[in-house]
Amino acid sequence: MSATAEIERSPLTKKELAADKPTWCPGCGDFSVLALYFKLLQNRGLHHEKFATVAGIGCSSRFPYFVQAHGAHYIHGRALPFATGIALSRQDLDVFVFGGDGDAFSIGGNHFNHCARKNVNLTYCVMDNNVYGLTKKQTSPTSPIGFKSKTDMWGAVDKPINPMQQAISAGATFVARTTHTNPKHLLSMMEAAMDHKGFAFIECLSECTEFYDGAFDSSNPRKGGEFRELPEDHDPTDENAAYAISEELVPGYFGVYYQISRPSKQDVEAEVNAKFLKKTKGLKDWEILQQNFDKMK
């Protein structure tokens, strides 16, 4: 971007980053995630054209409309494969994906597993409110047993998904948990995720004040709960330890459960390509294709 590179640009202001006024209900946890995303972008001096914000469908997924930058509001559950497309084809961009628990673990459950296993270099923040917000209070894959919703009026009956364990067993290389009630922690997790090379997954507890009020009080000191960081001696490279300590869902622990270094999808594809590019170096595209056509003569 030569035209813009000439001027030393200062980090964007909050005003320059804000787009539509968020349509979330008052008190919704998603507000903090948006505010700290702005902070992250400012801290890292990312300009409008350097990143892409992608989401699926849900209250949380309305995110891209609130961010003044290139954004995509895709379909329910498929934000990850969409984001993979942009992350692989435009490796110059930082790609951030936001969404809800239904989007991530129900309709998009299998994409989550495969994106993790492929270790696509992007940051994925799931705003987990343990409920379907946008469709007005149905059971979500993370709703605890007993949660009374419109589809389980006597209380949810199915065992909920454990996002940390799901991510670890699927092969994610960065797995962290945070909550909207602790902005400092939330920001530090976002920064760590962004710095990670590979698939970085954050579960952010984000209360739905409308349909699941008080869901996370047990982890909120202001509501009499306790914010428990992972023990100091927790070794995030120890897969078994990470898996074991993520057994407890609510309130559970906060911090980086698991982080290892493994070549990203971008890296492994570049490695494959490097072998071929050695052979096609200096050739124009049509000359490479001509080789195939010559073999069909």
């Binding site: 409309y65 895709y74 494969p81 969409f82 942009i86 594809e269 069909m296």
Partner: protein, 604 residues
């Protein structure tokens, strides 16, 4: 086999040599015998000898194999279809013999393996039989015990002798084929070929020699439709693809996975078709059109995402290699029954572009055309091919790659201002500014599936939904106005117009030629642009008493197929009628003609 001159006066012991114009050879055996490769070699030889060629094959859908045929039509003149009748049947087994003698021309030749086939005395009266211990002689020639291995190459030698084919060129092709394999593999293959080629065809009274084909000014290449499409995608400048395996689409994704790294591109094998289409759309948003594809079942899965691409106006290339459906259907058979899902399979009002290439060569150029339409009109474009065109081999002129290959790298030029869904163009045509584009006004676009305003932000306004819905169809109307009016094959006025699309083009054209020779007034029309339709079709139809739309799909509840339904809806003309079949096989010329006859009698 059309003899064009009388036999040479040959020495008495030698078989006489007859000049022929063309030949249809059907090889019937089991898929694991490698009969496809015999056909492949013959087709490539034809291409190198400037002949025309078209092949047809059936393959069992199970991996363990089963009965399979490969048919090659070689000609010194034009080849439109793979041929109704075989001049020569090569039968490896009893089932090959029993099931395919019907297909041989009266007086034609049946070459059979004496180890496996017991000829039928009735048939011996009708066809010339030549027995050869194929399996036994192959083992003798190449040694070892590998039962049935190399039989195909032996058979190729036999055919080469019978048709006096260029042995040196065939040897060259065999050597090329096994290039990179251990040397003894090539040697073994060549031994099998020589043994077949040296077999004394004493019972064969004559040898056939093809007429010299007319010289061509371009070199020929020989490949399948799937290959032509795959290479067309590379030529179009596409550098990202995503897919999930399914027959008969998989060949294309395998080709792209193999070739794209040479151009620093990527093809991703995804967890399912929904991920694949989503990944391709995400990549396209990055500013360079991407591709996904599948066959019927996978196209159904991609439906929601294609609807999003229509709404968000993202360019996208989707390949649908049709097969027999619904559901798993007949995975290795031909059918043209996805036209409706391609054109109308979206939720909501979601117009999209659908193009059906009508020959192997056309597959190559259609890929490029489709990409350019997708870019210009910011729309998904679906290329509808089918199993027949995907797997058949044809020869065509070497494309000028230097001129056809295009660079479609993202354009990230900074802009003053940008409205992704600007309504000011009367034709509704807009293009996106890809992520990475600096926009001076500081107002950035969102691409979205929610109904939106010009900036891509949600809008529930009734007027906006009206205007944006119109924008989405207006741009395709504009495209419709730009499309070339298709050319009628044959006179532009007459009694019957046969309308077809995709792989049936050759059979319909040959039917037209044959009928006209017999004095009937029939012309043919191929519709490549299915959605939008080109303008001016009603003028063409008005020149004919009957318009019969011949398709490889079901006539359904009301007696007409999917393209026919679209044309009837569009032109409200009851003279547009359907001729359909769903046997999973390509149309034979004689079947087209007999069905036309029956339809005409019905109408009278």
């Amino acid at each position: 086999m059309s003899d064009s001159s009388t036999a040479d006066e040959a020495v008495s012991e030698d078989p006489k040599v007859s000049k022929i114009h063309e030949a249809v050879i059907r090889i019937a055996g089991n898929s694991q015998d490698g009969i496809q490769s015999i056909g492949g070699f013959l087709a490539r030889l034809a291409g190198r000898s400037e002949q025309e060629v078209m092949t047809f094959m059936t393959i069992p859908s199970t991996i363990s194999g089963g009965p399979s045929i490969f048919q090659v039509r070689l000609s010194s003149g034009e080849v439109l279809s793979s041929g109704d009748e075989a001049d020569v049947l090569m039968a490896f087994y009893q089932h090959s013999y029993d099931n395919h003698t019907d297909f041989v021309k009266e007086g034609g030749i049946i070459l059979y393996d004496t180890a496996h086939v017991e000829p039928n005395p009735e048939m011996e009266k009708r066809f010339r039989h030549i027995g050869c211990p194929i399996a036994e002689l192959t083992v003798e020639a190449i040694g070892g015990t590998a039962k049935d291995k190399g039989k195909n190459i032996f058979a190729l030698g036999l055919i080469a002798r019978m048709f006096d084919l260029d042995g040196k060129r065939l040897e060259g092709l065999i050597a090329e084929r096994f290039l990179g394999k251990p040397e003894n593999v090539t040697e073994t293959a060549l031994s099998a070929f020589h043994a077949g080629n040296a077999y004394p065809l004493t019972t064969l009274a004559e040898i056939y020699e093809f007429e010299e084909p007319k010289a061509r000014d371009t070199e020929q290449v020989v490949c399948t439709g799937n290959e032509a499409l795959g290479y067309g995608i590379l030529a179009s400048g596409v550098r990202f693809g995503a897919g999930y395996p399914i027959t008969p689409w998989s060949d294309i994704m395998e080709l792209l996975r193999r070739e794209l790294p040479k151009y620093d591109g990527i093809f991703v094998q995804c967890e399912d078709e929904i991920a694949a289409v989503s990944m391709a759309i995400g990549a396209s948003w990055g500013g360079r059109v991407a591709i996904t594809g599948s066959s019927g079942p996978g196209i159904a899965l991609k439906g929601e995402a294609i609807g999003w691409a229509v709404m968000a106006e993202i360019p996208l290339l989707v390949i649908d290699v049709q097969r027999g459906g619904p559901s798993t259907g007949m995975p290795t058979n031909v059918e043209q029954s996805d036209l409706n899902i391609a054109c109308f399979g979206g939720h909501g009002d979601s117009p999209r572009v659908v193009i059906a290439p009508s020959s192997v060569e056309d597959c190559f150029y259609t890929a490029i055309e489709a990409v350019n339409i997708a870019r210009k009109y910011s729309t998904p474009v679906i290329i509808l091919t089918d199993q027949a065109i995907a797997t058949r081999i044809e020869a065509f002129g070497m494309p000028n790659l230097k001129e056809t290959c295009q660079d479609i790298s993202p354009d990230l030029t900074p802009r003053e201002d940008h409205k992704p869904y600007d309504l000011s163009d009367p034709d509704g045509i807009t293009q996106h500014a890809a992520p990475g584009t600096f926009i001076k006004s500081g107002k950035y676009p969102v691409v979205t599936g929610l109904e939106h305003n010009e900036m891509g932000h949600p809008s529930g306004s009734p007027k906006m939904h009206l205007d944006m819905t119109a924008k989405r169809h207006n741009k395709l109307k504009a495209l419709g106005r730009e499309l070339p009016k298709p050319e009628v094959f044959g006179p532009e006025e007459g009694n019957v117009l046969l309308v077809g699309w995709g792989s049936t083009q050759g059979s319909l054209r040959e039917a037209t030629e044959r009928a006209r020779k017999a004095g009937d007034s029939i012309s043919a029309l191929t519709i490549r642009h299915i959605n939008p339709l080109p303008e001016g079709l009603e003028d063409i139809f008005s020149g004919f008493n009957h318009v019969f739309v011949v398709e490889n799909n079901d006539g359904g509840l009301y007696g007409y197929g999917q393209l026919c339904g679209l044309l009837r809806a569009r032109y409200c003309d009851t003279k547009i009628q359907g001729i359909n079949k769903t046997d999973g096989l390509t149309w034979r010329v004689k079947d087209v003609l007999s069905r036309v006859q029956a339809k005409l009698e019905d109408n009278n």
